[in-house]
């Protein structure tokens, strides 16, 4: 019997999509990107009377692609971030949350800088370069492996440890710079003993290394035995035990790989002309948060190297473009970070729309479009649903 009491129907409920078609997923992602730019534009218009639609897009694109130099700088920056994202990807695949890419790169940079500072001019330029490369890689690797040893030996939480190691690395770096140059600005500038000083084309070398590593990482993760072990350890530690994978060995090996790649980036940051400073130098903020951006990029791209390249490109595009808009509209330093924040917000939200489907239901007819595939994890979907009903 129907009572005359108003019966509340849930307005909507969520179901988990399973077999999401690639087309649909990409349509959502592209849509989100376009939407995020539009929102950025609208927010900018509200923030400053100088800005209108035309102004925003003009300076956005000018800032990113205005001149050949700017385009090259864009790709150089993208390559650096991409390399860092690639470095942490195998760790993430292993569910080892290494958010210490920043500190590891920093240590690589300082290791490299120390060698340049002490041996430049005292030995042949190429000798210095090779030595600084080796020491940079060694420093970064040690920095990456210490938390891994703790994890393997005592199962400590790697997220906290790697995060803290970032700060230790920065302080250690500042201390080392003071040791080398007691009087000064905290920036070490080099005129010899670096790749830049040796006349190597900065754009070319960074870009080539990035392309090479992207391909190698793709092959490593998909076709090598090591990559397979990393996946098994990450997805199912019990299964790894069951087939006799030495999990500790895999953790340490993967972190060595990560450390080496971070070391390469650290070396590049010191030894190659830097995009923003136009000289080869090292200081406390050499890595400038790229390590953290890279974590986000690797994650957003679902650990797919090609998708990482695209995401890195978009992030750098927005950062540089928004910086330019901010300059011309006099919106201040934090403006660009805000725009990047809006962009990330939208991209992260796409995950929700790709994984879940919102079913509205009308009171009269209970029609229901069946979602894509059988056998879901209904409990999980339901928990989300509970949040949404209110």
């Amino acid at each position: 019997m129907m009572s005359n009491k108003h019966v509340k129907e849930p307005l909507m409920h969520l179901t988990r999509r399973l077999n999401v078609s690639k087309k649909y997923a990409w349509a959502i992602r592209i849509g989100a990107f376009v939407l995020s730019i539009l929102v950025c534009c609208i927010v900018s218009c509200i923030l400053s009377p100088r800005v209108n639609f035309g102004f925003f897009f003009k300076y956005l694109f000018n800032g990113a692609f205005g001149t050949t130099n700017l385009v090259m700088a864009l790709f150089r920056e993208m390559a650096v971030i991409l390399l860092l994202a690639l470095a942490v990807t195998p760790c993430f695949q292993m569910r080892y949350w290494n958010i210490g890419g920043e500190g590891q790169t920093m240590m690589g940079a300082f290791g490299c800088a120390l060698i340049v500072a002490y041996t430049a001019g005292k030995m042949p330029a190429w000798g210095t370069i090779l030595l600084s490369f080796a020491v940079g890689v060694a420093f970064a690797t040690v920095w990456a492996v210490i938390p891994a040893l703790f994890k393997a030996k005592w199962n400590t939480n790697e997220t906290l440890l790697t995060l803290m190691f970032n700060y230790i690395a920065v302080c250690l770096g500042a201390f080392l710079i003071k040791k080398v140059a007691p009087i000064g600005t905290g920036i070490l500038n080099f005129s010899t003993g670096t790749l830049a000083a040796a006349g190597v084309n900065d754009f070319l070398i960074i870009f080539l290394i990035a392309v090479l590593f992207t391909v190698l990482m793709f092959v490593y993760m998909r076709y090598s035995k090591h990559g397979y072990e990393v996946m098994v350890v990450g997805e199912s530690p019990n299964t790894a035990r069951y087939i006799g994978i030495n999990t500790k060995k895999v953790i340490i090996r993967t972190l060595v790989l990560c450390g080496v790649m971070c070391g390469v980036v650290g070396f590049l940051l010191v030894s190659v002309k830097d995009a923003s400073f136009l000289s080869d130098n090292v200081m406390q903020s050499t890595v400038a948060g790229r390590g953290f951006t890279a974590v986000l990029i690797s994650w957003l791209a679902h650990f797919n190297p090609w998708a990482m390249a695209l995401t890195a490109f978009l992030v750098v595009f927005i950062t540089r473009g928004a910086n330019n808009v901010g300059n011309y509209a006099r919106l201040g330093n934090s403006y660009a970070s805000m725009m990047v924040g809006i962009f990330f917000f939208f991209i992260i939200a796409t995950e929700f729309f790709i994984n879940f489907k919102i079913n509205f239901r009308s009171r009269e007819e209970v029609t229901r479009e069946p979602d894509d595939l059988a056998d879901s994890e209904p409990i999980e979907a339901k928990q989300e649903e509970g949040d949404d009903n209110d």
Binding site: E9, H13, Y228, T239, R368
Partner: protein, 610 residues
């Protein structure tokens, strides 16, 4: 039938995706003050249906009436508002809390509570905090809260101390806490999801007594089960579900087990599992005094000794959690053994040695100890032979074992066991957690055990792909393609993939833990047949099961575990369910250890299969 209806469900349908129809147009009702059994096989939609009453799922279509009024139950809180409480199969308790705290957890505080008022009247300080709490919608926990709850406990005669922590409690005590929890919240419609699965027979009797008492006080109870004897013992009516559809609801008094089985399984299914006598059983694996202590320091396996023969299926019976898991993991090298030995007899008698698992140095040592003979029967003496000559002899299969190779597996890791050439296959209990990687494709799951083979750093997916397709075809795995992640497959298909892989390596020992758990009848029979085939290939099969009927019909001998100890090894052809049930609950003073007597066994009567 003048009793009013506590719950009525009309035309309930619930699907997960397009393929899985969990419930299809189900009409179901529960009367006030009755115990109703919801009967059905695994996967027949019992739990899903009940979850819709308890607010865990929302139905796709259909209506639910509670005491004659149409309701929409969106969440467990809604369900409680309608005085419906569900006791789930997997308890939802906070281990670190006391039982009392678990019971009041999530409760809405009533500020009119007399005790609080009394306390508040006593001094201004307390009054201030009570009012502050009221204001902030934040309430204080009373120190003597456990005592107040004890009243409910005593009312139903639950013998339980609510001030104890959950982690100290046994499974049946946890279940009691769950029941008290829903009663405390004022539920008068109780749903119990397979409450007896984890209990001993004595505990089941106790639970049933409690349920009857609650019924007599006017509560309406639904009990989900697939055990017929329990249905007959406890319920007033029985509702039968089959493949998501409601078949019938009948009065228990007017029906019998056979009729219910027919309704439950649909057509008559030949319950006989083919069972041949073991052909020439030879001991393959000796477990001696095995003791496994888990991480918490509890002795899970306690000086267990037994042997498994090639060509037999040895069943392992026991209430779950009595050491079955630790026993198998101990043998597979996944759990360290505190004590004991595992001796493996590799059936190598009169077979040539290979270089695959033995290097030349080891062959030399073994020859010196007199392990080998030439085809003409002369003992092998490798003194004075160069390595090259030995390799040639091995390749020509001239060096032959006298006897089975004897290897001690104690303290060996799974990888070492594999490298020793011991083909030990293991189908663990929780397939997607151990044994398979859910997010990987079928092909990638095929090479879990074999990916190391072959030189070079790259994977070779050719063989795994062929194996995957063979298994999909031979075992009739329902899957869109061999690239589908195994997590997307249904339980039965996941199991076929795992069992298929494990037997593809032609094992010498095959251990399976609950291989048919959650499978439908057809998939179960596929698995039984596979195990029987392995037995015929003189593999030593270890089958850990929960359904005693299956154990009695499938196995040759049954090892019964109780509290981590062996309470008997019995001849599966000459024992009753009740006898095994007794062994599962108590270790007798004199433990029977049944072994084959090679000459007599051919005389055995084969007709007493059940």
């Amino acid at each position: 039938m003048d009793k009013t209806l506590a719950i009525e469900m009309v035309g309930i349908t619930k699907t997960f995706g397009t393929k899985v129809i969990a419930n299809k147009n189900v009409n179901f009702d529960l009367r006030e003050g009755e115990i109703l059994s919801l009967l059905g096989e695994n996967g027949s939609g019992k739990t899903t249906l009940m979850n819709m009453i308890a607010g865990i799922y929302t139905p796709d279509s259909g209506k639910i009436y509670v005491r004659g009024e149409e309701v929409v139950i969106k969440s467990p809180i809604d369900a409680f508002d309608h005085h419906i409480g569900m006791i789930h199969q997997h308890f939802k308790l906070v281990d670190l809390f006391t039982a009392a705290d678990n019971i009041i957890l999530g409760e809405r505080i009533h500020y009119q509570d007399d005790n609080t008022e009394d306390a508040a009247k006593q001094n201004a300080f307390a009054r201030f905090f009570v009012h502050l709490g009221e204001h902030l919608k934040f309430s204080w926990l009373r120190r003597n809260r456990a005592k107040d709850l004890q009243a409910i406990v005593d009312q139903y005669g639950f013998g339980i101390d609510l001030s104890r922590k959950i982690y100290d409690m046994s499974v049946s005590e946890k279940q009691t806490v769950e029941i008290i929890k829903v009663l405390y919240r004022g539920a008068d419609i109780l749903i119990l999801d397979e409450p007896t699965a984890v209990l001993t027979p004595q505990e089941i009797d106790k639970l049933f007594a409690v349920l009857r008492k609650m019924r007599d006080e006017g509560k309406s109870i639904i009990i989900i089960t697939h055990k017929l004897n329990e249905v007959m013992a406890i319920s007033d009516r029985v509702a039968v579900l089959r493949k998501g559809e409601h078949i019938a609801t009948v009065e228990t008094a007017t029906t019998n087990e056979k009729e219910l089985t027919d309704m439950m399984v649909g057509q008559k299914i030949d319950l006989n599992i083919d069972r041949e006598l073991p052909v020439n059983p030879k001991p393959r694996l000796f477990i001696k005094d095995m003791t496994v202590v888990n991480k918490e320091g509890r002795t899970m396996v306690d000086h267990v000794s037994f042997e498994i023969n090639g060509g037999e299926i040895l069943g392992v019976a026991g209430i779950s959690g009595n050491g079955q898991k630790e026993l198998l993991e101990g043998i597979a090298g996944l759990q360290p053994m505190a004590e004991g030995e595992i001796i493996f007899h590799n059936p190598k008698e009169d077979k040539p040695v290979t270089l695959y698992h033995h290097d030349v140095k080891k062959i030399r040592d073994m020859a010196a100890e007199g392990y080998f003979h030439y085809p003409n029967g002369v003992k092998v003496d490798l003194k004075g032979k160069t390595n090259k000559e030995i390799v040639q002899l091995v390749k020509d299969e001239q060096i032959i074992f006298y006897e089975d190779e004897i290897i001690n597996l104690k303290d060996k890791t799974p990888r070492e066991i594999q490298e020793l050439g011991i083909k030990l296959s293991f189908v663990p209990e929780d397939r997607l957690n151990m044994g398979l990687v859910g997010s990987m494709s079928i092909v990638d799951n095929m090479m879990l055990r074999s990916y190391r083979k072959g030189k070079g750093i790259f994977l070779n997916r050719k063989r795994p792909k062929k194996l995957a397709n063979d298994i999909i075809e031979d075992l009739e795995v329902v899957t869109p393609s061999d690239q589908t992640p195994v997590r997307r497959l249904s339980g039965g298909n996941v199991q076929k993939v795992l069992v298929g892989r494990e037997i593809s390596s032609s094992p010498k020992v095959l251990m399976t833990a609950y291989p048919v758990r959650g499978l439908d009848i057809n998939s179960s029979y596929t698995i039984y047949n596979l195990l029987n085939l392995q037995k015929a290939k003189s593999v030593a099969v270890l089958y850990v099961g929960e359904d005693l009927d299956v154990l009695l019909a499938l196995c040759d001998r049954i090892l019964v575990l109780c509290g981590g100890r062996v309470s008997g090894v019995v001849d599966a052809r000459n024992i009753t369910k009740e006898e095994i049930g007794f062994l599962m609950t108590k270790v007798p003073d004199e433990v029977e250890l049944y072994r084959y007597k090679p000459l007599e066994e051919t005389k055995e009567d084969t007709d007493d299969d059940e």
